[in-house]
């Protein structure tokens, strides 16, 4: 177990290094970071001055060495958008808001997808099952930002249940979290449904039923535990994708000031250092979550051999 975690951590380090190198190559070779940082009206002299100030006219290997060294010392450069603040501090300021949103959204997804999926698998072809299947297909096909606008139009503009602008955190949190959770509920409940149908159909479930166990126990204890593995895989994917992508869109629709919103703002304001910091921090988060998922397999299914 310990060796496995160590191996996964090493893999994670490789991923983070990969992302870092990618960011370096892309920003230094594909584009000109100074073009990204200064307004279009800047003169050639201003650009050259800025370039030498940042050491961007040094040879590429030397720049790369300094880039890696700086990141190793957790020095990500100063943000130009949030003036004078250290990029990493800005990101860490915004991060809790995103984690709060993802946590709340994923809890909603968990609470609804499991019972819905199990119910659908117990009564296939019932109206609940058919409604759920149809809705999840529609949910899968709807862009999340459009879903967000629909929620805003219906609940904020028409019904005025929620207010636009600052309010108590829990009312502001509800719509973005629901927007994050709904497509996930669709996908997750479908996985629970098909995994449960497979498990309930298997020999051991029939044996359990034949020897007279109550249906509740067959479903809740025997089948659910085995159906848990595909569910955990997909749930982990949902968390990762929420962190690395969905929150950007959801936070933009709802003006939720987490790191997704910060990323869009940083890019649009040509804040070069802040942008690359966000990318690297998100990569680290993704690695951590994926290691946690792998460990949770072992907890659910003792047969799983890690390594």
């Amino acid at each position: 177990m310990g060796r496995y975690i160590l191996k996964r951590l090493l893999q994670g380090v490789v991923v983070v290094i990969g992302v870092t190198v990618f960011v370096f190559v892309v920003t230094r070779l594909v584009g000109d970071p100074v073009k990204f940082m200064l307004p279009l009206s800047a003169t050639e002299e201003e650009r050259a001055a800025r370039r030498s100030e940042l050491g961007l006219d040094d040879p590429i290997p030397q720049q790369f060495g300094r880039f890696v060294g700086d990141i190793g010392r957790l020095d990500f450069g100063e943000s130009t958008y949030v003036r004078g603040e250290h990029s990493l501090e800005v990101v860490l300021d915004f991060l809790p808001r995103t984690l709060q949103l993802v946590a709340f959204g994923m809890v909603i997804a968990l609470i609804f997808s499991l019972p819905l999926g199990i119910f659908a698998s117990r009564h296939p072809g019932s109206w609940v099952d058919r409604t759920l299947t149809t809705l999840s297909l529609v949910g899968l096909s709807m862009p999340q930002f459009f879903l967000g606008y629909i929620l805003l139009i219906v609940f904020t503009v028409k019904l005025t249940w929620f207010e636009i602008g600052p309010g108590p955190w829990y009312t502001n949190l509800v719509l973005p979290a629901v927007c994050l959770a709904l497509p996930a509920i669709g996908r997750l409940s479908m996985v629970v449904r098909s995994a449960m149908i497979d498990e309930l159909n298997s020999q051991y479930a029939k044996v359990a039923k034949a020897k007279g166990l109550p249906q509740r126990r067959v479903v809740g204890v025997h089948a659910l535990r085995n159906a848990g593995i595909p569910f955990v895989t997909l749930f982990g994917w949902e968390v990762i994708r929420a962190l690395a992508g969905y929150t950007v869109v959801v936070e933009t629709v709802f003006n939720w000031n987490g790191i997704g919103f910060l990323a869009v703002t940083a890019i649009k304001n040509n804040d070069f250092f802040l942008t690359q910091t966000i990318v690297i921090v998100v990569a680290v988060l993704v690695v951590i979550v994926s290691i946690l998922i792998d460990i949770s397999y072992k907890v659910i299914d003792p047969r799983v051999k890690l390594g």
Binding site: F146, I150, I153, N201
Partner: protein
């Protein structure tokens, strides 16, 4: 979790499938397999009502997207404030602007047509580029094995863990957003899934006798890969490509929505939803709804079509579905209750 075929895993679905097959053979006096071959792919589509409706919708959409410059009544960025926010025809508007105009006086119908053009073009182009590259990498990794396989799959693993959307945003900010840059960047972000799938199938196919036989008679590895292994990939890859097409359309819309994809003067549904969301959230919300609904319908149709394709291309799935309809919707049997 797929059904194991063998005598000891005789599940309810399988016995249903057999009963249904025997039933149909007893009516028509012809083996079931032959009937499938006779119906063909398109014949099959007619029986799947949702699949058929999606196919028709997509054909109409693709045709109007292709012909947009000729059938759109206006240029997408052509309008003035004197004709702003006109109502659609069914709300007392005129046929001059069938779906009305937005707050800048742009014709909504024309913008929807040009938006379809962008979405479908990027979807097809990305699937073609990313698919070709991914399949190539997967074929090489799966067939060569050993160190080549480890290096290539290591690359795939690392890139899969990248925060794709953020990197795409960063890249587009650096190189500028146009149909071509968005296509290339989405392809860079999306080839890995083809690589993984191709490698998996190649690994299972390459141990089969016909591949060994081809190698024994001295076929070059190029010939073994292209003539003997590749045909086995066609049906799973077709299904994957269709699903990816839907995903790419959504990704393009999301990037354009964030202002980091297609930009003015380009036209995109995602961009239009963002514009309308900024200006008309408290005004004419229909301007958010039109492009949103069209985008959702397109993706929904592609998803429905892909589920039809999956069934149509896989004989085992066909039997399962047929069993379900022939025994009177016996999903109940499938669940074992």
């Amino acid at each position: 979790m797929s059904t194991v075929h063998g005598t000891d895993e005789w599940t309810a679905q399988e016995s249903d499938a057999l009963a249904a097959t025997e039933y149909e053979e007893s009516i028509t006096g012809r083996p079931y397999e032959l009937q499938g071959a006779q119906r063909g792919l398109l014949g099959d589509l007619v029986h799947d009502k949702l699949g058929l409706a999606s196919a028709i919708f997509l054909v109409v959409l693709a045709t109007s997207a292709l012909l947009a410059p000729w059938i759109a009544p206006y240029e997408p960025n052509d309008g003035n404030l004197s004709s702003a926010l006109l109502s659609p025809v069914w709300h007392g508007g005129t046929w001059a602007h069938p779906i009305g105009t937005d707050w800048q006086g742009y014709d909504v119908f024309s913008r929807l047509l040009y938006g379809a053009r962008t979405s479908l073009f990027i979807g097809i182009a990305v699937v073609a580029v990313a698919g070709t590259f991914g399949v190539m990498i997967g074929l090489i990794a799966g067939y060569k094995g050993g160190r080549t396989d480890r290096v290539l799959m290591g690359w795939v693993d690392v890139q899969v863990s990248f925060p794709g959307l953020l990197l795409a945003m960063l890249l587009i900010a650096l190189v500028g957003g146009s149909v071509y840059t968005v296509t290339i960047i989405l392809a860079i972000n999306g080839w890995m899934v083809y690589g993984r799938m191709t490698r998996g199938i190649v690994l299972s196919v390459r141990e089969r006798p016909f591949v060994e036989a081809a190698e024994l008679v001295g076929c070059s590895s190029r010939r073994v890969i292209l003539r003997h292994i590749l045909p086995n990939l066609v049906s799973p890859l077709a299904t994957l490509a269709v699903l990816e097409f839907a995903r790419i359309i959504l990704a393009e819309a999301a990037l354009s929505f964030l202002g980091l994809g297609i930009q003015y003067p380009g036209v995109s549904w995602g961009l239009d939803i963002a514009r309308a969301g900024e200006h008309e959230l408290f005004g004419n919300q229909w301007l958010i709804v039109y492009p949103g609904v069209l985008l959702s319908l397109t993706v929904l149709s592609v998803n429905l079509l892909s589920s039809w394709l999956r069934v149509a291309l896989d004989p085992q799935e066909r039997e399962k579905r047929f069993a379900a309809t022939a025994t009177g919707g016996s999903n109940a049997a499938a669940a074992g209750v």
